[in-house]
């Protein structure tokens, strides 16, 4: 069966020019992520994982190279265009949750929908459906400060889901959680992938890497291995 690619990256480089030096965070990078994939990206600190995820999430643009997202060339867009694509195509989950403290749980989850042309009732319905999915319905009117870390991250997952994005990008989603809460979040992601959501997560914890179907290992801005999880286990 021919799988359709959500993301195709070819010959992509990212160079940071700082005062006295150039850092090649990614060089001549190639990666394809297909619909329904669950990719885990791992590697030592500083190898370019976060940079890659920022580019995949259109928070940053590549210095060179080809980046196709859902058959659109997105390598060179202006800030507004990237914001619109982020809103529609990407769901983010961050290490430090990044919920907005002034907003309730429901309002946080609703945020991506506020940038769309969508009625209040429909937004509310989608928000409650996603909270249901992550088991946070009871806390809809609470503020982030009233939740534990694990609960906050589940809200963040709901927020990533609510816009029905093409892909969910998660940068160290378990980094600020204890192992019990970390496991819960990873279970949740696995369950979502089972329901067809495409996921790409960055983690340096190999235990969590194995939740994924496919593991990409980076070293100094290059892919060193790209294998199905079963093969990794076998090797």
């Amino acid at each position: 069966m021919e799988k359709s690619a959500v993301i195709t990256i070819e010959g992509l480089s990212k160079v940071f020019e700082t005062e006295r030096m150039e850092t090649h965070a990614l060089s001549d990078f190639n990666l394809t992520i297909n619909r329904g994939d669950y990719v885990s990206i791992s590697g030592p600190s500083g190898c370019g994982k976060s940079t890659l995820l920022s580019i995949l999430g259109l928070l940053d643009s590549p210095t060179r190279g080809k980046f196709v997202l859902n058959n659109m060339n997105v390598a060179n867009l202006d800030a507004s265009q990237r914001a619109r694509i982020r809103n529609k195509e990407i769901g983010f989950i961050f290490q430090d949750f990044n919920l907005i403290g002034d907003l309730t749980v429901a309002q946080n989850v609703e945020l991506p929908l506020t940038h769309r042309d969508m009625g209040k009732a429909e937004r509310r319905e989608r928000v409650m459906a996603c909270l249901e999915k992550v088991g946070m319905t009871q806390r809809a009117e609470h503020y982030p400060a009233q939740l534990s870390g694990g609960q906050q991250q589940r809200v963040a997952v709901a927020r990533a889901l609510v816009g029905k994005p093409s892909i969910i990008l998660a940068d160290e989603p378990t980094g600020n959680l204890d192992s019990k809460n970390g496991d819960a979040v990873m279970d949740l992601l696995a369950q979502l992938n089972g329901e067809g959501v495409t996921i790409c997560i960055v983690t340096h914890d190999s235990r969590y890497a194995n939740y994924a179907k496919r593991v990409v290992k980076l070293l100094d801005g290059k892919v060193v291995t790209d294998s199905l999880a079963a093969q990794v286990e076998a090797a």
């Binding site: 983010f92 002034d102 945020l111």
Partner: protein, 809 residues
């Protein structure tokens, strides 16, 4: 004590560590406190301070009125003064006052203004001469030796402060006057004079016939209520005296004139015209102080947000809330006192400006000073400012410690601080709006005043005032003087036209005398509308032509209306319509002296504004200079020459006619008219300055708060952008936050303006204090300026790199 010194040292080091913001805060406070100190000195000196005489607050003006004849102040005759003094039971004493000009012969011709007063005058005021003696009762006697008392200023300027001046003579109008005393330096009352004379010194007042004519009224009367006697009680007491006089001497108080007497607080009378303007200034300066205080509180709060860590560490080390509050208070007190000192300097340097402004409307100008009361005011305001600035940030922060203890609650704390800052900004905007609308109303009113057509041409008209020595100039001599001066001036190529008058429009002061006369009509009996007091001016031929006053009927006065021709009068249209409604007044006759002379009406001219732009035109008539010569000579010249050139020209021409004759004033008509607008002009200027600063401060405040918000909320903005907020949406969000504050401020400001409008209502001309045009214009101005002020931080927010923003903590 030791702790206080330690806290002061700490505060001092901290303030020095950030010299920039410390300087800004001190300058802001200096401005706010300085403005208040100087306005306070002005208002206190003019309005609030008790008159600086013996029980000055109890001095009253006793004013005779003739309501039915339309006269507010008939003045008092010598017999009036005597009877009111002897018959009242509520006053300690009664004094009289009037003034006149004398000529001092000598190298340079000079005029001397002399107060002519009853012998008890200085004792009444509680003033002891610095040299010599006061007047005594015998000085008042008819034929007594002529004596004078010098004002301190005149003693300095004319006698070079000669310590042996007492006993020397001062020769005026060919008469020697012996100097018997010199006054101390003192505020003079009711006006500033060079010298003082007893009543016997005045050729009019000292004349036996005048003294015995009850209806010859020209003096002012003042008294002082006995302790415990109220103004009302004194009023009814004097009313009884007046009623008795009216029934005893009915011929001198004609019933149809409606004579009466008013007892008025002098302090009130001297200041009542300017009171609303000064109170407005005081209110405006308090608003400016509020704005500067809130601005400093705002800066302090912003600094504290940045000092969060330091405060947290201090709290962790065991400093309690009181401790922290004390440190902040010491710091703000030091700032406020430094600002107060700066304000004092500002007030000190603006004092001359204030006193010269005050001199345009009150003889109390010399009492405007940075005195003990002003210093106390300055100190109180500074300390209050320090308290407000120091305590406002702590106020409502009961949870500062709990917040710190809870840890991670910094956000709550700074959000609370934000809320206080937002409130302050809203307040600033509201006040700035009030000040700007106030200034806008004053300016619109000022423009409206200037646009009023006075009814005559004022461009290229120069005026010279030449009060003739009454000792030397009889009617014939005046005619000759005027004729020769006209010839001398007309010959000059600079001069396109010449005319003479006793009183030019808007004119007042030395040598300018608008006459008033009780007129009779030969076409009706005296009781049928006769006996009305009307103003008149004496004018030469060419007067109406020169000023472009249009003719309504008949003809103008000409130079051939001289002593050999029939006496004529030209009426203002208002007078013509009042006394001959629907009828031509031409060839009717009026008499200014109960029928001794009759003037034939030969013309009617258009009304002019005579006294001020905002005053209604008065009924008046004009008589011919050649037919009733007066020593009050004012030359009007049509010329394009510069004032100093005109001055030289006129002085030379006058000197050719009479080398000893002074020219007291050379000015332009435009200048004279513009001077009558000095109060509205000053109010417009001061309010404009205040409102410009208020607008700037409040807009810098909004902009700063937004920039601060953006920097505090960078992470949140990053999150929103990551989730799809486009740059323009971010910009709109930040703009919206700023504009909401502005909108709330504007609404409050409008309410405040409408409430304060009543203070303004009496000061503005031609528009209402809730003038829609001004309000709309100012609202748009605020929206435009605040859009600009909010745009910068909003645009910066929209250009944030979401990736970098997400990484901030």
């Amino acid at each position: 004590m030791e702790a206080l010194i330690r806290d002061m040292g700490y505060a001092f080091r901290r303030l020095l560590a950030q010299p920039g913001s410390t300087l800004i805060i001190i300058l802001t406070l200096a401005f706010g406190i300085g403005v208040n100190t100087s306005i306070f000195s002005l208002v206190n000196g003019v309005l609030f301070k008790e008159l600086p005489f013996k029980r000055g607050g109890d001095i009253v003006e006793i004013r005779q009125t003739a309501i039915k004849a339309g006269v507010d102040n008939t003045g008092a005759s010598a017999l009036d003064v005597k009877d009111f003094r002897e018959q009242n039971r509520s006053l300690e004493d009664v004094i009289e006052y009037h003034f006149m000009y004398f000529f001092i012969a000598g190298q340079s011709p000079a005029l001397v203004k002399s107060g002519i007063v009853s012998a008890n005058y200085f004792d009444f005021l509680g003033v002891k001469p610095a040299l010599g003696r006061s007047f005594v009762a015998s000085d008042d006697a008819v034929g007594a030796e002529p004596v004078v008392i010098l004002s301190h200023e005149f003693w300095n300027s004319h006698f070079s402060a000669d310590p042996d001046v007492v006993g020397k003579t001062l020769e005026m109008n060919g008469k020697a006057n012996r100097v018997v005393g010199v006054l101390p330096r003192m505020p003079q009352f009711p006006e500033v004079n060079d010298i003082y004379m007893p009543t016997s010194g005045c050729p009019t007042r000292g004349d036996a016939e005048f003294i015995n004519t009850r209806s010859s009224r020209m003096m002012s009367m003042y008294g002082r209520t006995k302790p415990g006697v109220s103004l009302q009680q004194a009023g009814s007491d004097l009313d009884m005296v007046a009623k008795r006089l009216h029934s005893t001497y009915p011929a001198d108080y004609p019933a149809e004139a409606g004579f009466g007497v008013k007892v008025l607080s002098l302090q009130n009378e001297l200041t009542k015209d300017i009171r609303p303007s000064l109170l407005l200034l005081l209110a405006a300066s308090l608003l400016v102080l509020f704005i500067t205080c809130t601005n400093v509180v705002n800066l302090t709060l912003a600094q504290q947000s940045r000092r969060q860590k330091e405060l947290a560490v201090r709290a962790a080390l065991g400093a309690d809330r009181i401790d922290i509050a004390k440190k902040l208070l010491v710091e703000s007190m030091m700032l406020a006192l430094a600002g107060g000192a700066g304000g004092l300097l500002l007030a000190y340097f603006s004092l001359d400006l204030l006193t010269s402004f005050a001199a345009t409307f009150t003889s109390r100008a010399s009492e405007v000073s940075i005195d003990g009361q002003a210093l106390a005011f300055n100190l109180v305001v500074s300390v209050a400012t320090g308290l407000i600035v120091g305590l406002a940030p702590v106020f409502g922060k009961q949870d500062i410690v709990t917040a710190l203890k809870e840890g991670g609650a910094h956000a709550t704390l700074s959000r609370q601080r934000q809320k206080v800052r937002k409130l302050l900004i809203v307040g600033q905007i509201a006040i700035a709006f009030m000040l700007v609308t106030g200034a806008g109303l004053m300016i619109r009113s000022f423009v409206a005043l200037q646009r009023i057509d006075p009814g005559f041409r004022s461009d290229d008209i120069a005026i010279a005032t030449i009060p003739l020595d009454w000792n030397k100039y009889d009617p014939g001599a005046i005619r000759n003087f005027v004729r020769e001066l006209r010839n001398g001036l007309s010959g000059s190529p600079e001069v396109q036209g010449v005319a003479f008058t006793t009183a030019y429009p808007f004119g007042s002061g030395i040598g300018v005398s608008l006459g008033t006369a009780v007129i009779s009509f030969d076409d009706r009996a005296a009781d049928a509308g006769g006996g009305k007091r009307v103003n008149f001016r004496t004018v030469s031929g060419n007067y109406f032509e020169l000023l472009g006053i249009p003719l309504v009927a008949g003809r103008y006065i000409s130079d051939s209306d001289d002593e050999n021709a029939t006496p004529v009068a030209v009426l203002s249209r208002a007078m013509a319509e009042k006394y001959w409604p629907g009828e031509s007044p031409l060839n009717k006759r009026i008499s200014p002296d109960q029928g001794k002379t009759w003037l034939t009406v030969v013309g009617v001219v258009q009304n002019i504004k005579g006294a001020g732009f905002d005053k209604p035109p008065i009924d008046e008539y004009y008589v011919s200079y050649a037919q009733s010569p007066s020593q009050s000579v004012n030359v009007l010249l049509r010329t394009k020459a510069a004032p100093n050139k005109v001055s030289a020209l006129v002085k030379a021409a006058v000197a050719r006619v009479d080398a000893n004759q002074p020219v007291t004033k050379v000015t332009t008509l435009a200048r004279v008219m513009s001077d009558t607008l000095s109060t509205p002009r000053m109010l417009s200027q001061v309010l404009s300055l205040f409102s410009f600063l208020a607008l700037t401060i409040s807009m810098v405040g909004v902009s700063g708060l937004l920039a601060f918000t953006v920097s505090q909320r960078t992470k949140e903005l990053g999150i929103r952008m990551a989730l799809g907020a486009e740059p323009h949406a971010v910009r709109r969000m930040i703009l919206g936050q700023g504009l909401v504050l502005v909108a709330v401020g504007l609404v409050l400001g409008m309410v405040g303006s409408l409430l304060l409008g009543r203070l303004l209502a009496s000061l503005i001309y031609g528009i209402s204090s809730s003038d829609v045009f001004t309000f709309v214009l100012v609202t748009f101005l605020f929206l435009a300026v605040s859009l600009a002020a909010c745009w910068l931080p909003a645009a910066r927010a929209s250009r944030l790199d979401p990736n970098a923003a997400l990484r901030t903590t």
